[in-house]
């Protein structure tokens, strides 16, 4: 079974500029010519794939973390399950899923979400557990219900740990999402994959890879900024 679902062939490889013909490291004319039809769409797809994966992963991990936090017995099995998912090599996981969900976005998202769970879950649980006991005793003594304590005290105090988890999960998802090109012709992995097949066209590999790195760094910086805004108290 082919892992590649008919990606578009770069039409002008071998017949473009001199830089392209000699497989140069950084062919600006190629970049200009193919930003619109190759790199930009791939970047947008990559953002979508990653954002959906981190979003769903966040929601799932939050539910699991609240369950594991409230019912301590659940923590070990949930942690083990997330551990297990995390250890499956991504290529193998894609392969395993294809017979079930086909060469689809669903396959990619299932795999990507699986990889976010461990990091997000562990950080959320640790963040919730690190809430100072004196604050909890005060909350209880003042008559906050369990739910009020969770929403007004525990979750806000866990925000730094939760965002720390989100940052790692986002960066690693953006990185792993390049492998999605083995399943669907989407994301920044796609141009890399095509360039690999076409005598290792260096400019394209570098450009797409560079965009993935830049995207990861941007996401990381945005989340760091979000945390500063959300937790003015942590700088006090």
């Amino acid at each position: 079974m082919s892992l590649v679902a008919g990606g578009p062939v770069i039409p002008n490889f071998g017949q473009g500029s001199r830089c392209e013909q000699t497989n140069g490291w950084w062919c600006t004319d190629w970049l200009h010519a193919h930003w619109g039809d190759t790199l930009q769409p791939a970047l947008v797809q990559h953002v979508e794939l990653s954002a959906i994966a981190v979003g769903i992963g966040f929601a799932l991990a939050l539910v699991l973390a609240l369950a594991g936090f409230r019912f301590r017995l659940l923590d070990a099995p949930i942690g083990f399950f997330a551990d297990f998912l995390y250890t499956i090599p991504s290529l193998a996981l894609f392969q395993l899923l294809v017979p079930l969900t086909g060469l689809t976005v669903t396959t990619v998202e299932i795999a990507l979400v699986s990889y976010t769970l461990l990091i997000l879950y562990r950080n959320m649980i640790e963040g919730l557990r690190a809430v100072p006991t004196d604050a909890l005793e005060a909350a209880r003594g003042m008559g906050l219900t369990r739910f009020q304590t969770l929403v007004r005290v525990e979750l806000p105090l866990a925000v730094p740990a939760i965002v720390a988890g989100l940052r790692i999960a986002s960066v690693s998802t953006i990185s792993i999402a390049t492998v999605a090109a083995f399943v669907i012709p989407q994301g920044l992995g796609n141009p890399i994959f095509i360039a690999l097949r076409q005598d290792l066209f260096k400019t394209e590999i570098l450009a797409a890879g560079g965009l993935a790195v830049a995207l990861a760094l941007t996401a990381d910086a945005l989340l760091a900024l979000t945390q500063r805004v959300l937790t003015p108290w942590s700088r006090a």
Partner: protein, 313 residues
């Protein structure tokens, strides 16, 4: 919020964990409305347990506790806690909330508006001796003493008729602690709450308490009385030992020179103000090898003098 203070009754209150010895054993005492009852005793005496029985952080095994005649078992537990101010040694301020939001915790549970809370927190900051600008700060920006003041303001926010204070000044350095004790007494003279105050420090108990309950190991009540009575007539050897061999001196600390009848005398001697305790006056006499102290009023006018014999009664 009409009632300012409630009467608190422990009625054979008992807490037992499993089949073990009780932590609090048939504790019966009444704290009249508006008075400070200090629970004091050695560790293992069950004083903190007794305190936490009141707001049901720990549930009674048997017996009853009544606030203004109403059994705590008959009240919804969160409603009960919202009507009782609670101050703990580690303060337990919420680090992610400003001082104002911390103070507003319970009023917010009662559905008070933002502006009501802002006004109230300003009032309370003033009451506990902090500048109004503290409202916008975070707990991490405060010193230990300031945090405990905010803790006290937070406990007072919903104007509860009863306050539970669990070693509130225990983690604060001695100089600040003395100041906080003095300010707490000044504040109590203003708000007149019923207060249950736990400490392991007998000197603090004598200073703070209108009444002192001394608990012995095993959670039984050894004596419940005013500080003066406990110092003058300890119920048994345990109490006598607990209050210390210097109990006569401690008793002197309960009265000020202004309460005694002064002699007309031209004798010289060290000057003391009317608010000086008999203990401090005596200490001064000893230190200065003097025969008498001269008592003055706030303006330095000489009111009269006291000899050692006057002080020792």
């Amino acid at each position: 919020m009409t009632k300012t203070a409630a009467e608190l009754v422990f009625d054979e209150a008992t807490k037992r964990y499993g089949d073990g010895d009780p932590a609090v054993d048939r504790l019966s005492l009444t704290v009249p409305a508006g008075e400070i009852c200090v629970l004091v005793g050695p560790s293992g005496g069950g004083k903190t347990t007794a305190l936490k029985l009141v707001n049901r952080l720990i549930e009674l095994t048997s017996g009853d506790i009544r606030i203004d005649g109403r059994s705590i078992a008959d009240v919804d537990v969160t409603a009960l806690r919202r009507e009782i101010g609670y101050v703990i040694q580690q303060v337990g301020l919420f680090p992610h909330m400003t001082v104002e939001a911390n103070i507003g915790t319970v009023p917010r549970l009662f559905g008070r508006s933002k502006s009501w809370i802002a006004t109230r927190s300003q009032e309370l900051l003033e009451l506990v001796g902090l500048d109004r600008s503290y409202g916008k700060r975070y707990p991490a920006q405060l010193s230990g003493g300031e945090r405990q003041r905010v803790g006290l303001a937070r406990a007072l926010a919903a104007d509860p008729p009863l306050m539970l204070m669990d070693e509130p000044f225990g983690a604060i350095d001695p100089i600040v602690r003395t100041r906080l004790q003095d300010e707490f007494l000044r504040l109590q003279a203003e708000v007149r709450k019923t207060v249950v105050f736990v400490t392991h420090d007998i000197d603090e108990a004598i200073k703070i308490g209108d009444r002192i309950a001394i608990l012995r190991r095993g959670g039984t009540l050894a004596q419940y009385d005013t500080p003066a009575t406990i110092l003058a007539r300890p119920a048994d050897d345990f109490v006598a030992e607990f209050v210390g061999a210097d109990r006569a001196l401690k008793a002197l600390a309960l009265r000020t020179v202004g309460e005694l009848e002064l002699r007309e005398s031209r004798d010289g001697g060290p000057l003391v103000s009317r608010e000086t305790t008999l203990r401090d006056a005596l200490a001064l006499l000893i230190a200065e090898h003097a025969q008498s102290v001269v008592v003055t009023d706030g303006n330095g006018t000489r009111l009269g003098s006291l000899t050692r014999e006057d002080i020792l009664g």
